[in-house]
């Protein structure tokens, strides 16, 4: 049993929640020279809204002009491109096409293009039907028209967030998992009661995602918004199907959702989703057989060749939407408290921008640190199907997961790394083990042995 953490230390910043936003926040403040502590309720980072998304780096071309969301996406997009090489993060420059499938959608295209230009995404340009079909020859010929968004790219949603938090940790930040914030009070300094004891901090930043309003209520007694979880289900097709589309295929969006997207993943698959289903539960990311079949059908309608390929996996994610249309980022300067709420489906793209935005609010409130001169860059997870992988260099100790070509060396590196996974989900996100077409048929057994004593729950208990 490790000793309880020293409760006498006063951290500069406590960040509540280690989703992609919390991870980016931790990185920003650590690099700005703050003593950072990240508290995560779950056993793993990225266990809530950041667990499942469409893994696209958006330009924000369709965000409401003038919104905080638009600004954060634009800033986040820019910073991602600036830092990704130093952090070893992959990028696949696919571009996207927004396509109209009927006359009503066709009529909206010019409005959307104008909006994109207003948002500073200047390279968005109309395409004729013929141009679309030349660039994407596998699309259904029923497409009516569309426009191209050249700057929409594919990224690794987990490796990027891991890189943010690992860089924060490599530069002095601390992460506590299984550590839920229960209550707290502010008397010049924040004193938080957590499931792992007391924590003191000068400043609190609530990045609790699906629990953003709950944390506000626990610490402030009230919240300016209510989280309305919105579920999105996805169907992922086997890798050979990825040749059917080059660009991300976006529909004409509605008020509540970007609609059903066909997108390749940086891991080499092609996927269809998400749905947008409002629900009460903040935890239940169930899939429904009929919905999944309908998604597959919709995918085949747009990209008929998908019918010939098998499904690799299905999943659902929860987005922390609120009753408001914009992100809910607010500062209570008198209490040294910032809420970062309602970072919905665009959070992956916006996370670095959100962190910048919050750091700006903080500086204006008089907080300042000494930015690190030479921040350390940690070793990233290298899982992109389009870039060199571990199995391609000698001495990997054998391939454990054959579908995703995950090596023993990679798994051991994750298990013995600076932020070892504590659950199978966490190991999967770090290595892609069990995430391929056989979904664990071949590798579960050897993996149970390799991870013995390291995961909770264990893959299997030793037979006595």
């Amino acid at each position: 049993m490790p000793a309880l953490p020293d409760s006498s230390e006063i951290f500069d910043v406590v960040i509540i929640g280690a989703g992609v936003v919390g991870c980016a926040m931790a990185r920003r403040f650590a690099l700005d020279g703050a003593r950072v502590l990240v508290l995560e309720k779950a056993a793993e980072v990225l266990d809530g809204a950041s667990k499942a998304n469409s893994a696209i780096l958006h330009t924000g071309f369709d965000a409401p002009p003038g919104s905080v969301e638009q600004k954060c996406i634009a800033d986040g997009y820019r910073e991602y491109l600036e830092i990704r090489e130093s952090l070893g993060l992959p990028l696949l420059k696919t571009g996207a096409m927004v396509l109209a499938w009927d006359e009503a959608q066709l009529a909206q295209l010019l409005v959307l293009v104008a909006k994109a230009h207003k948002n500073g995404v200047a390279d968005v340009a109309m395409l004729t039907r013929a141009e679309i079909l030349v660039q994407e020859p596998h699309l259904s010929e029923s497409v009516k028209g569309g426009f191209v968004v050249p700057g929409e790219y594919l990224i690794d949603p987990w490796a990027s967030a891991h890189a943010y938090i690992l860089q924060a940790m490599a530069n002095g930040a601390e992460l506590r998992r299984n550590c839920e914030v229960l209550s707290g009070r502010f008397d010049g300094v924040w004193r938080l009661n957590t499931s792992q004891g007391a924590v003191r901090a000068k400043q609190v930043i609530n990045c609790a995602g699906l629990y953003g309003d709950v944390i506000d209520q626990r610490l402030l007694g009230s919240s300016d918004f209510k989280i309305k979880p919105r579920k999105g289900q996805f169907v992922v097709f086997d890798k050979p199907a990825s040749k059917l589309a080059r660009a991300v295929i976006l529909p004409v969006p509605t008020k509540t959702t970007k609609g059903v997207v066909i997108f390749r993943t940086i891991f080499g698959n092609i996927a269809v989703g998400p749905t947008a289903e409002e629900q009460e539960s903040r935890t239940d990311a169930s899939t429904e057989a009929e919905t999944l079949k309908e998604l597959r059908r919709k995918g085949i309608e747009m990209l008929p060749g998908l019918a010939d390929y098998e499904v690799t996996t299905t999943y659902a994610g929860l987005r922390p939407a609120t009753e408001h249309h914009d992100y809910q980022i607010s500062q209570r300067a008198a209490q040294n408290y910032i809420t970062v709420g309602g970072i919905r489906s665009t959070g992956l793209s916006a996370a670095l921008g959100v962190a910048r935005h919050v750091a700006g609010l903080n500086a204006r409130a008089g907080f300042s640190g000494k930015p690190l001169k030479k921040p350390v860059c940690p070793a990233p997870d290298r899982l992109s199907n389009y870039h060199p992988r571990d199995w391609e260099s000698a001495g990997h100790g054998g391939i454990i997961c054959h579908c995703e070509l995950v090596t023993k060396r990679e798994i051991l590196a994750a298990l013995n790394g600076p932020m070892p996974p504590t659950t199978l989900q966490g190991l999967k996100r770090r290595t892609r083990v069990c995430m391929g077409r056989c979904q664990g048929f071949y590798c579960t057994g050897p993996l149970a042995t390799l991870t013995q004593g390291r995961l909770d729950p264990a893959i299997g208990e030793p037979d006595e």
Partner: protein, 410 residues
């Protein structure tokens, strides 16, 4: 990149690959190499810790792991070069392979390649089983690998989905480590595997729920329950801590799909001719990769026959420029194998085609080419049963139109 060469490269060291390699050696072929990606050869039988294996081929009853050891031993004694921890990452035209090993990458040039990559069970996702995504949802193969190769127990009270032969193997595997299956769920109104209609001792105490529809898995971190609807639409809930997703085998054809070789949508395996050759004639295919799913014994015999054809082909290449397609042209027929008929005659060709149904059907099953009925017989069968039909009536040099298999008067 290091270059290697051999005469015959066999991809996959399971029943088919090892039987084929051993037979090739027996027939005097030099330079036979088996490429196995796992740390040990033997394939699926390695983790089938139960009877019955080997009765037809070795005239003795083995448990799976002993059978696998016997296959490996026979191959080694015969002089087969078995390379374990060796993953084929790419198939290239003209019998060239890219290999990956813990020590590095290789290119292997062979005279002929034989694909023997076998089958696996369909995953939860492939069956669109809804609900949450807790741990403890495993294929039978994964369960067996945990139990028999890694001595690990993933759960104690699983629900088994399916009533195929392998579903009953799952019960035996559970019993081996004191796990108590709570129920079997079957989408149809009857048990899939016929043999099990005999009293089955292991089944005692495991109820079968028929007409189970819209199965959902409940549980956040670990499985808590399985829910399903019955024929009347009423929902039921079974408390459980695991789910075994059994059966619905499909060829392990990832390499094929990423290659230059033609794939058959019906079988999910390679498109082959009556000599077992893929669309690139330097590639032969045998065993369960050809179709889901036959017993180990069937695959063993299939592989031994394939070895004979390869020896023929090495001595005097089998022609193949001219061929006609053989196809399932009826919604009730899932596949017909082989998918192509080469017109040039050579010894050793398959005598029979294999068919499976997509749904229970009866009628006059016919082979028709350009309006001409070449063969027919009355068939009443079900999807899980193998149907064999003679190939010889179809091998007429004058045929030009594809041979279509369909039911007349169904």
């Amino acid at each position: 990149m290091n270059s290697l060469s051999c005469n015959i490269a066999i991809v996959g060291g399971g029943t088919a690959g090892l039987a084929l390699a051993t037979e090739l050696k027996r027939l005097g072929v030099e330079g036979v190499t088996v490429l196995e990606r796992a740390p040990e050869a033997g394939g699926v039988p390695r983790h089938c810790g139960h009877y019955p294996f080997g009765l037809r081929e070795f005239k003795r009853l083995f448990k799976g792991p002993d059978y696998a050891r016997k296959l490996v031993k026979n191959a080694r004694v015969a002089g087969v070069d078995i390379r374990t921890d060796t993953t084929v990452t790419r198939l290239h035209p003209n019998a060239r392979l890219s290999l990956n090993t813990p020590e590095g990458d290789y290119e292997l040039q062979a005279q002929r390649v034989v694909l023997c990559t076998g089958v696996r069970e369909s995953s939860r996702a492939q069956r669109f089983i809804g609900g949450q995504r807790p741990m403890g949802v495993l294929a039978t193969g994964a369960l067996q690998s945990m139990v028999f190769l890694n001595q690990k127990r993933p759960f104690r009270r699983p629900v088994i989905l399916g009533t195929e032969l392998v579903s009953f193997s799952a019960i035996m595997t559970c019993r081996h480590m004191g796990m108590r299956p709570q129920a079997m769920l079957e989408a149809n109104s009857r048990v899939t595997v016929r043999q099990i209609m005999r009293p089955f001792p292991a089944l005692k105490g495991v109820p079968i729920r028929f007409n189970a529809q819209n199965i959902r898995i409940i549980g956040d971190k670990t499985v808590k329950a399985v829910e399903y609807g019955d024929a009347t639409g009423q929902r039921h809930r079974i408390e459980a801590d695991g789910v075994i997703i059994s059966g619905q085998f499909r060829p392990e054809s990832a390499l094929l799909h990423a290659s230059h070789l033609a794939v058959d949508a019906g079988t999910g395996g390679p498109s082959i001719d009556q000599y077992g050759r893929a669309s690139d004639p330097s590639y032969f295919c045998t065993g369960n990769l050809l179709r889901p799913v036959e017993t180990s014994s069937w695959c063993w015999h299939e592989a031994v026959e394939t070895a004979g054809r390869i020896v023929q082909d090495l001595a005097a290449p089998i022609g193949g420029a001219e061929s006609i397609a053989l196809c399932a042209a009826d919604p009730a027929i899932k596949f017909a194998l082989p998918q192509r008929l080469v017109k040039s005659e050579a010894p050793g060709a398959m005598k029979q085609m294999q068919l499976r149904l997509a749904q229970p059907a009866s009628g006059y099953l016919s082979a028709i080419s350009g309006g001409q009925t070449l063969w027919g017989d009355f068939i009443e069968s079900r999807p899980e049963r193998r149907i064999l039909a003679p190939l010889s009536p179809l091998l007429k040099p004058t045929l030009t139109a594809p041979v279509e298999m369909r039911f007349l008067g169904r």
